[in-house]
């Protein structure tokens, strides 16, 4: 087993444990911090896949901005009395759905003959220039639409979150 594989399994275990922490921890703040750990683990997986661009985007956007936003929302929606039960009565059904999805997914992954584009050669890192070039040439229209989606969503968020004159 090579060094990269050892690192991958360590990071994978940590990410999976952090993900389980997000859905099981009782304290909402602990769950949010666990989400930060999971997101950074995912970023490390991107690095292992030698896609540095996604690594940076993931750390900056998820590890920074999105988690800060989530922590702010937790702060704004704090309730004095924490409910005795963090999960609803339907949690066995949720566990069943998640377990059966995972079973079907794993079986189909190992049942498929994947045709790798490259055989047993080391991964070369994906250059930023190539990604930018492709993004602005081939994927220019989806890129513009994505920027429009962000604009509309953020304007909508401002309109929704604003305190109106009639509000208490």
């Amino acid at each position: 087993m090579s060094g990269t594989e050892v690192i991958f399994y360590i990071i994978g275990t940590m990410t999976a444990l952090a993900g389980i922490g997000v859905v099981t921890l009782r304290s909402v703040v602990h769950a949010a911090l666990s989400l930060v750990a999971a997101v950074l683990g995912v970023a490390a997986v991107f690095l292992l896949l030698s896609v540095e661009f996604l690594f940076l985007t993931q750390v900056l956007l998820y590890g920074g901005a999105v988690t800060i936003l989530l922590l702010f929302a937790l702060m704004l929606t704090r309730v004095r009395d924490v409910p005795a039960l963090m999960v609803g009565a339907q949690w066995p059904l949720g566990l069943l759905a998640a377990g059966s999805f995972f079973a079907v997914f794993t079986v189909s992954v190992f049942d498929t003959e994947w045709r790798w584009a490259r055989d047993n050669e080391e991964l070369t890192s994906v250059a930023f220039e190539d990604i930018g070039d492709t993004l602005f040439r081939v994927w220019a229209v989806p890129f513009e639409i994505a920027s429009l989606v962000l604009l509309v969503a953020l304007v909508g968020a401002i309109v929704l979150g604003r305190q109106e004159a009639g509000d208490r």
Binding site: G12, T15, A16, G19, V22, V23, V28, A31, A38, V39, V42, V45, L49, V51, F53, L54, Y62, A65, V66, L69, L70, F72, A73, L74, T77, V79, P83, V87, Q90, W91, L93, G94, L95, A97, A98, G99, F101, F102, F105, T106, V109, W114, W116, A117, R118, L123, V126, D130, T134, L135, P142, A146, L150, A153, G156, A157, I158, L160, G161, D167
Partner: protein, 102 residues
């Protein structure tokens, strides 16, 4: 070289924990956090496919970028709605926001 399947299984684990969280948590912010987990799992999946199976045009990587963009928009909108609901009902529990349920 790490086999492709192991990346897929990792993303499957993350996605199914996300499913469990979405279906069983009661706090709306925690549900949004589980959705984030599922989106991250999908990003891993598509990036692994892009690196291992179809490296030309970076389709999977670009998709992962778009997933991150849409996730940012979704979190902003979702949290605005949750804060709004909290102002009206003093609770972020999704069981208490059931007016549209039949």
């Amino acid at each position: 070289m790490i086999p492709l399947e192991h990346f897929l299984v990792l993303s499957g684990i993350l996605f199914s924990t996300g499913i469990y969280g979405v279906l069983s948590r009661r706090n709306a912010v925690l549900i949004l956090m589980s959705v984030e987990l599922m989106l991250a799992a999908v990003s891993i999946n598509m990036t692994a496919f892009a690196v291992y199976i179809s490296p030309d045009l970076f389709t999977g990587i670009i998709f992962a970028v778009f997933v991150i963009v849409v996730a940012a928009a979704e979190v902003a909108l979702g949290l605005a709605i949750i804060v709004r609901v909290f102002r009206q009902r003093a609770s972020a529990n999704v069981d208490e926001v059931a007016s549209l349920k039949w």
